[in-house]
Amino acid sequence: MKHFTMNPIALRELRQLVRAKTILFGVVIYPMVLFFALWMSLSDALQGKSAVELVAGPGLGSVPFSTISIVTGLIMVVGVPGYFAAKTIREASKDDSRLEFTTLISPTQYITGKLTAGFLLMLVALALSLPFTAVAYLLRGVDLSTALLTPAILLAYAVVSLSIILMMATSTLHKSLKGIAILILLLIVLPMTFTSSGIFAVTELGSSVEAIIVFSTMAVVAATVARAYGASNVAPPYSHRVGPLRRTELILLAADALVIGIGSQIAVPHKFDDYGYLCTSIAAILATICCGRSAFDPEIVSRSFRLTAKAHPRTRILRLLTATGSAPGVLFSMMYMTVALALPLAFLKLDNDFYAVIATFFFEFGGAAVVFGSVARSVARTAKGLKVGFMLFLVAISALNALAVFMAASGGFGDSESALAMPLCIAGIVIDKTRYAHFIWAAITGLSALLISLSSLESSYRTIKRQVK
């Protein structure tokens, strides 16, 4: 008889969940909160209405339905990923947890196991909310397709959120920096993205079915990429994720930052909408947090690839991203290729709208990642005496960015993603890891950040001026 082979990490997580007091407490309190929310929203809806109005009217269900969906959504999209993030960070700080990678567990299995356990916990939350959703539906005012699709979309969002949060929780940054980044993501960036992408889907695509298809595709892609990065983060050996960069690596990375940072400003025509910026912001944060030393170390990548190809000859290309720790490296290669393709277009004065959008997306994706990531990391590793200077420098850059964002909001064209550099950089300063050599790297990438900020400021100014005229 073939034994049921459940992912060991998932099984362990579920066993721990069953024993965790926080979860047990949550399972008891959560229905009470839902009941309270239902009662409050119903009493609001009932206020000042006669029985005739209630029977003949459009129904009372829409407000309670929305309230219950919001509470459930918060638990699934913020609560569950937050719990798993805290748990993963706590585990990672203990050397004992690394023993898992001296077994036959693969990095992908590790991430998938945690995702599976999180998904099951989300299902529990959803199941607990279903009776209340049913009550709201029976009160009329909500059509059947909305009642059925809302939990499904919430679940999809929650899985994406958990994937992204796990990816960050497994990164090699200092735990305080990871904590800050996760909080920003959970409380600001992810809810904002979900809301704005929802608005985008409905307003741009018109039909709700089309919107759901686009939305689901985006969710699947985001979750898959995040899962690949997460696996890439935890791929052993760990020492290579935290080791200092060598001088030659510093020079190469500095060259990368200059080429991508400045190249993106001169090569690609600015044909980019606000939604693209939002995507870029998310992508920049993700890429920043995921880029480890392994991504730039050809020796590690080639060795890992050789081993993976040998072990899994048929699926070696697919496994490259997850098994070798090279996912961020592949991303950087992709950006480089885009730069290489875009430069001739710029010099030949060719104007290709489609290419411009695609290329700009990759530039923003990678350029912002390189700049933010390297500045945050470099500041963290620079000698203590220089940190104050760097902090002032970064405050100045952020002030410029804030102005650019303000101008963008006024109808200009700004680099909104650059503003996100600030919390990352300040968090980086907190870390007490000093590497004097990183001064050069920080200076060069910081300069790139300054150039990009000035450029976006100038771009915003021109656009506003043109609009005024």
Partner: protein
């Protein structure tokens, strides 16, 4: 299984090598004591062997399989017991071992047998339903050992396993290590308690500043103590007589015996024996003591860090 550590070099920062061209080998049934001052590179070497680190250069071969090129083979072959204790406090002993058994690909009856087997071997049967947070340090060490053994590895790597254990637990650990070696496992064990290592190890490797120290050469240059009992003369009275003998550097008396320190080498020992006869000192007990690990360690190490 033969384990060959070949020219391992590992540096962490600014050209200082934590492990510097380290080479040694050992085989199944051997218990190798891995000794060195703090920061000598013992843990780094063990982590490389357990695939938790990779060296800057050099390699480790397990029956000819490189741990760098074939980490999965290494994972199957090696059980690593780090100096950290198990940290999943809300997990029971049985669940913890069950998890690692599954992580090594065991399922069904094979998994149950393996978990129960290591629980019995490490006397954890009565604690199987207790959570790890409820266990004493000694019991956690046992859990850690059980975890390292759950997939029945051919090689066991133990980093400071006796750290913080009480005397009884240390004796029990020693017995467990001996039993494992008798079962044919190759064991690499580091400890600061040298007298204990000496009792359970078949050989030892001393490292300092990441490099191996030539123990044989040092051992030869060490003095030898000879345990002597002279018939009809109390040790305190025999002491001055022994000190008169040429070549005797120091004499200690205590209990029924004297201990005389002379230069190492068979010639010096034979010369002492014949000098006793010449002086009509009737030795009813004459036992040269080999230099112990602690003496050698103190002689060869300076306590400096890599």
């Amino acid at each position: 299984m033969k384990i060959e550590i070949k020219n391992i070099v590992k540096s962490f920062q600014r050209g200082v090598n934590a492990v510097d061209d380290l080479s040694f080998s050992f085989s199944s049934g051997e218990v190798v004591g891995f000794v060195g001052p703090n920061g000598a590179g013992k843990t780094t070497t063990m982590r490389i062997l357990a695939t938790m680190d990779i060296p800057d250069s050099g390699d480790i071969l397990l029956d000819g399989h490189s741990v760098l090129d074939e980490p999965e083979f290494a994972h199957r072959s090696i059980g690593f017991m780090p100096d950290d204790l198990p940290s999943l406090g809300d997990t029971t002993v049985d669940e913890y071992l069950d998890f690692f058994g599954r992580a090594y690909g065991l399922r069904g009856k094979a998994l149950r047998d393996a978990v129960e087997g290591v629980e019995e071997f490490t006397s954890l049967n009565t604690f199987r339903d207790k959570t790890l947070s409820a266990l004493s340090k000694g019991m956690k060490q046992r859990v850690s050992l059980a975890r390292a053994l759950v997939h029945d590895p051919a090689v066991l790597v133990m980093d400071e396993p006796a750290n913080g254990l009480d005397p009884r637990a240390r004796i029990e650990l020693r017995e467990l290590v001996k039993a494992l070696a008798e079962n044919g496992k190759a064991i690499l064990i580091s400890s600061h308690i040298l007298s204990e290592l000496e009792e359970m190890c078949t050989t030892s490797v001393i490292i300092e500043r990441g490099a191996r120290v030539d123990v044989e050469k040092v051992a030869k240059s060490l003095d030898v103590w000879v345990k002597i009992r002279i018939s009809g003369i109390e040790p305190d009275d025999a002491r001055p007589k022994l000190l008169e003998i040429p070549g005797v550097k120091e004499v200690q008396s205590g209990g029924r015996f004297c201990r005389a320190r002379i230069e190492s080498g068979d010639g010096h020992i034979a010369a002492l024996a014949s000098a006793l006869v010449e002086r009509r000192l009737l030795a009813v007990h004459f036992e040269p003591e080999t230099g112990n690990l602690e003496d050698i360690f103190m002689q060869v190490t300076k306590g400096s860090l890599a």
